[in-house]
Amino acid sequence: MSPICDISQILEDELLRKVTKPTRYTGGEHNQVKKDWSGVDVAMAFAFPDVYEVGMSHLGLRILYHLINEQPRMVMERVFAPWPDMEKAMRSRGVPLFSLESRRPLTDFDVVGFTLQYEMSYSNILNMLDLAGISLFAEERLYGDPLIMAGGPCAVNPEPLAPFMDLILLGEGEELLPRVLQAIADFKRDAGLGAIAGGAAAAGDDLAERRDRSRREALLLHLATIPGVYVPALYRSEYAADGCFLGTTPIREGVPAKVKKQIVADLDKAYFPTTSLVPFMDVVHDRVMLEVLRGCSRACRFCQAGSIYRPVRERSPETLKRQAEALVKATGYDEIALTSLSTADYTCVEPLIKELIATHAEQKVGLSLPSLRVDAFSVDLAKEVQKVRKTGLTFAPEAGTQRLRDVINKGVTESDLMETVESAFSNGWTSLKLYFMIGLPTETEEDLEGIARLAEQVVYKGTAILREKGMNKSVRVTVSTSSFVPKAQTPFQWEPQAPMADLEEKQAFLKKRLRDRRISYSWHDARISFLEAVFAKGDRRLAQVLHRAWQKGCVFDGWSEFFRYETWLEAFQECGVDPADYAYRAIGYDDPLPWDHLDFGVDRRYLIREHKKALAAALTRDCRADQCAGCGVCPTLGVSIDLRGGDHVPSPDRL
């Protein structure tokens, strides 16, 4: 029996009945693409290092899956991290990690590509490789083994994963990924070897193994010449005797000193699938996702997405309407989400929403706006959307005082917030969510007090409005705080994270302070934020810690029920690495950074300027409405802001 049948048989007969939510592992969703492998030159597994329902909510997967599968000679299948009950069952039955579509072991694929969405999923990557029976370290893999690839937002600083990855793609994948896969297919054909996978040397055959190794090196060397492809093994990081990081440089001729990220210039022409997988089980975002624009130019200084997705590029409303219609027809979803970093900023948002509602209301297809600004215009939009289906409202003032909001360049004033809230309550909402960050640079007790005060004011305002309207329902305000994590390629990359004890004290302060029955308070685990900071700013030395932590049983670190902080601390200690060095160190402007060899287009001088302005609480304007802030992205990447007009211009009272 072939291993494919074997896996399928064991799954159907034994494993699926034993695990929670078996549809995480069955595949077979509507619009799944199942290709005949005999006509295919290159096969890639898209690996999401989290559980099915999280991974399936990811727009990047939905785009790349159909993009690659539309190429006649390429195939992409999916794999997610099995939940611990399934992992246990698989290990006890000797079932290797397999793809959902054809239930093939991952070792059958030429490429296994992980998407790096959050730092806390890294241990799952190691676990998935191990479950697949693939060597964890790149240097141990031979020509016959799959190439292990990574991409996504955390590729901004992939250094903690460097020894595990064969190649890392920087930037947006729509154009880059097919190019890379084609190069791999061509190399295979020229080498005349058939599948990359399956051609490995027999064990013990030294010469063949060496030949395999050099063939793999030749392939990687070739791939490293494609713009946007970073091959960590071709670079060396150096450290001073005292452990200080000195820099990362190429070790081979012809390898670029700086790898430059790739982006699509015209979002309107960029590939976007008109079909989409429809999961059976509930997933986090289970709806049509329409990407209305990419990027954000509001320049919040803590925001990594704001830095790395620049410049702003919009899709035209005609394209979006066409995509919405095709997607609803292809999926049967009853909701369309307009996604982006800030959907209310889309220059054609009002007419687009009106037309989408008009077209789809009859079939009871509703709209949702996951990311709104704090302003009355956003409430108007939400009100429009509400006509079909009720939605919640969430706003993110981020900080409690004007001073601190100026430090982070969050262009929101208290009167903005009160106006927004007033409009929301007058329009029938009775509960709101407010997001804040604690531990921001320069934060004082006054800023924390400001969070509480704002929440109270919102409650008072809401209560007054509801009373006026004669409603005897009580207002509910949910305050949620996350802890500031300094991230690469942001103006705060030089900042230390607030000590964990301080963060916990701040949470305790708010817990005590937010006593009003109508306010509920939730917060993120400061220990998780601490590890996020460590890995967000880490270097290659963290790889051994990650490896050790995984060996000691750490998986699903982003899930509180599995997070084992003590185990992580042991791993750091055993490896002789002090996590505090990474999270708490204030970095000098001239110090080399572990991600300096990766060029995201954002000018270091701009980041320094922004950091200095932050400390002076000086504002930077939105480069769409005003002049260019000189972040360097447009000239470096050879693109420019692309707006699709309409009568809505960014609100002039933002600043």
Binding site: D13, L16, R17, H30, Q32, V278, T331
Partner: protein, 232 residues
């Protein structure tokens, strides 16, 4: 209001769908097929879809039924054709009929379920041994099984809810076919019948690896067994 009754089957891989997931799959397929659903009133309108009975996760079925309210009259033959094209792999649409106004709800009329079980043998058994085990167990006046409910474990007698039982064997498995009670008067689960047969008939089989097939759901009217389509 226009209501249709749909007969369908559920096989690999969708046998792993929960009842709720199945409902969602139908709703989405109806939308893809552009069949106009009728919705409930209120802030979060939902379509009116009512299944004959919930099917446990992992069971393959050849005889499932669902009633769906439509916003406009659509030719049942067309519903069948369009829906079949729009359903995920593993669902088969076998028949669609218009439900006349005033017809009793599906859930209220279905009271019998027919199952076939395939259980790997742990030791070679011949037909005679199986026949003897069946008659031994059927001779018992009551079959007590334990059920875990919201209020803890309770003991129930399922023997009165068993109407037919036959057994045979293939090369390496025991095949059991049964007709049991289902619906508002109480459910007898096929695994419980298997458990009782093993216990009272003293049979040893690999119950962990049982495969269950629901052959159909029926409306028993006296001695007659009708399908939910027949009663329309």
């Amino acid at each position: 209001m226009f209501r249709v009754r749909i007969a369908f089957s559920k096989q690999d891989p969708v046998r792993w769908l929960s009842h709720l997931d199945t409902q969602k799959a139908f709703e989405r397929a109806m939308r893809r097929a552009a069949i106009p659903l009728a919705f409930s009133e209120g802030f979060n309108p939902h379509p009116k879809i009512a299944f004959a009975s919930a099917l446990a996760v992992g069971i393959v079925s050849f005889g499932e039924y669902v009633d769906v309210d439509l916003a406009a009259a659509v030719d049942p033959a067309e519903v069948r054709e369009r829906l079949q094209k729009a359903m995920p792999e593993g669902f088969g649409i076998h028949g669609v009929k218009a439900v006349p106004p005033g017809t009793q709800a599906l859930m209220a009329v279905v009271n019998r379920a027919q199952y076939r079980l395939r259980v790997p043998l742990q030791e070679p058994l011949d037909e005679a041994v199986i026949a003897a085990a069946l008659s031994r167990s059927l001779a018992e006046a009551s079959w007590l099984v334990e059920r875990e409910g919201k209020k803890g474990v309770s003991t129930r007698d399922i023997r009165p809810g068993l109407f037919q039982l036959t057994g045979s064997r293939t090369d390496d498995a025991l095949i059991l076919e049964m007709l049991v009670q289902t619906g508002s008067e109480g459910n007898v689960r096929p695994e419980e019948v298997l458990e009782a047969v093993c216990r009272y008939g003293d049979l040893s089989v690999d119950r962990e690896r049982v495969r269950i097939l629901r052959l159909g759901l029926f409306v028993a009217q006296g001695e007659r067994l009708l399908t939910p389509m027949d009663v329309l």
